[in-house]
Amino acid sequence: MPKKTILVSQGTCCKAAGSERVYAALQEELARYGLETEVELKQPGCHGFSQIDPVVVIEPEGLLFASVREEDVPAIVQSLLPGRRPPVHLFYVDPQSGQVIPYRDEIPFFKGQQRLILRHCGSIDPERIDDYLQAGGYQALTRAVQELAPLEVIEEIERSGLRGLGGGGFATGNKWRLCYQSPATMKYVVCNGDEGDPGSFQDRSLLEGDPHAVLEGLLLAGYAVGACQGYIYVRAEYPLAIKRLRTALEQARQHGFVGLRILGSNFSFGVEIFQGAGAFVCGEETALLQSLSGRRGMPYMRPPYPVVAGLNGQPTLINNVKTLAAVPWIIKHGAGKFAAWGTQGSKGTAVFSLSGKVKNCGLVEVPMGVSLREVIFDLGGGIAAGKAFKAVQTGGPSGGCLPAELLETTVDFDTLRTAGSIMGSGGMVVMDESTCMVDTARFFLSFCLKELCGQCVPCRLGTRQMFEILNRITAGKGRYADLELLFELGEMVSRGSLCGLGRTVPNPVLTTLRYFRDEYEAHILEKKCPARVCRELVTYSIDGQKCTGCSRCLVVCPVGAISGTKKKAHVIDRAKCLSCGSCLATCSGRHDAVICT
């Protein structure tokens, strides 16, 4: 009888959904039926489909059980006994067609993906190097140090067309060559894992789910450019990623992949893991270098570029987590295979964190050049709760918001830039009709305002002024001339700022002005918020005809603004009301008596 494997994903998001308890219950149940030897229990990293966490997968069949709770575990384990059937009620149900789908690979969310960077996430145990080796890990490194010259590695990466997946989109091979050509005795390679973009979690998932791939990529980069020291900079908010990286690094050391004279070659390379301290701007490469040397994370003027003079004034190559994870794949399978995916200008695949008001939240990897519609509707399953799509924001807080008319836009570095947005690090936040675009622009500015380093004037003062204007508009005190002023300020900030963050900060404002001008006008001219989000512009009341006096709203109101006796219509005291919407959320779908205007 072939041995079976049960996979219980253990990423941060899976754990938050209770996967550790499911794992413990599985261990117990397997022991109860004496199946421990026949069935192997594994804890891989995140499979990406966070919406249906915790997930249990049974291999080799690939059966997937969704949203498993502890009490479901006995049924799953019993189904492994001869002649028993799997618990059908735990299979995934496609929300669109209502169809029950037992096999993982047939679920639309997985089927539509091309997994290359996330190749091992959700299938191998990230804390066991043997799993990675079995999946062909470190073969690329072995081949490189034993058969290839550094320049050959660089040429292979150049041929693949790989571009920096951290957002910049700079040709990776070219960057490597520049670093290779910089004369110095000491060179560094830094892996940028300071993923601070709200709405992005692909770097975290990758570090948690396949730390060895990132490490191998870093080693290959070090070999190619002639560096002997590498740093992995991870943000402090990702404790699990740091823990797994440490484990991976220790195992790699023991196997001789890191350290002196790697695999018997002349290549020696040390790796250190550096924990960030909570600063968004440190994702910018010069700020990251400042932070690595123990200073405030303030970006500085380039050139000289880090590949010429970076850490300690020495040539330093900085690559994103995803970029490095793609490297071993390219060296192993060849540049041609990688370049077969994607578009003319953007090769390979892109990883997106799909979140917001979409049915299937999670991580998706697709070939460059698919359309936004395919990602959001085919993989993401469309908009949750039957609402209408309004906008999608790509590329983090400094990316632009694109409207429904642009859903056919393809995702690659150049097309997104033309549309006024960016690829960024791959965040994709979907917004529906209940999202106010003016409020959204204000939100992104308030985020950036907190995270700016504050050294250059256009960014520091310009962003503050734009924020004040948006505050005014959402409070119903906007003037028509504000729109022109916002545009002017935005242009000034994006042209005059020192670093990449400053130059992209105005993107959300500029794109919402361009694509959702009617919403701004409604706020200013009619003093109305069409999405009913801006509190100063909405009032709540109760329809006396519909209210049954169930008192549910009275109970949930945090400030006691609702009064009334049971079974009689209630009223809202507008002087006390905070416009928090709790009453509306409780009543809608029941009596629909609470009205928001």
């Binding site: 938050a16 301290a277 939240c361 945090p558």
Partner: protein
């Protein structure tokens, strides 16, 4: 919970033993000291400056720049509210307001009894579970509503300290707040 100067000094010096004392160790040093003390009192920062031979202003400039560092002690239950984009569009603002109202403190503050402290952060990377909060940097609670948060805080306040291990729903925050 202010510790005496000598107690701080001895704890800080214990941390130093695993460092070389070079300038670029500043951030890891501060992280380890904060891990030990829960925050960074002035005495500790002065010690760090002396240890790596940099002006005190250099240490303070780093401490005040990075959001991870605290100049005041955190509460026994340190609650981090995620204010990332995904959480924002799913109502993180209301989650934070509810917490502020229920705990009687504002973001960035600690309750007088040092039981709770509240902090808003950019993104904890659990966007699929939005809106979410993190307790003591480890436990992530997701798919929250203001009602769930309100109930959880009231429950914890009532049965202070008691841990109820047998809660069934994975996202029910009642037992871990």
């Amino acid at each position: 919970m202010a510790e005496t100067e000598t107690a701080i000094q001895s704890k800080v010096n214990a941390v130093f033993s695993s460092f070389k004392g070079t300038e670029n160790e500043l951030l890891p040093l501060l992280q380890r000291v904060q891990e030990e003390l829960g925050y960074l009192p002035q005495e500790a920062m002065l010690e760090v400056a002396r240890f790596i031979h940099v002006p005190e202003s250099r240490v303070y400039s780093a401490v005040s720049f990075y959001s991870q560092f605290r100049l005041k002690p955190a509460g026994r239950r340190h609650i981090t509210v995620c204010r990332g984009t995904a959480c924002h569009v799913r109502g993180a603002e209301k989650i934070q307001e509810t917490l502020e109202r229920e705990l009687g403190i504002k973001e960035g503050e600690t309750t007088a009894d040092l039981e709770f402290s509240l902090e808003a952060v950019a993104c904890v990377g659990c966007c699929a579970l939005a809106p979410c909060i993190v307790i003591n940097g480890e436990k992530v609670l997701g798919r929250l509503t203001p009602q769930k948060v309100q109930r959880a805080v009231q429950k914890v306040k009532k049965e202070e300290g008691r841990q109820d291990a047998q809660k069934d729903h994975p996202c029910e925050p009642g037992d871990v707040l």
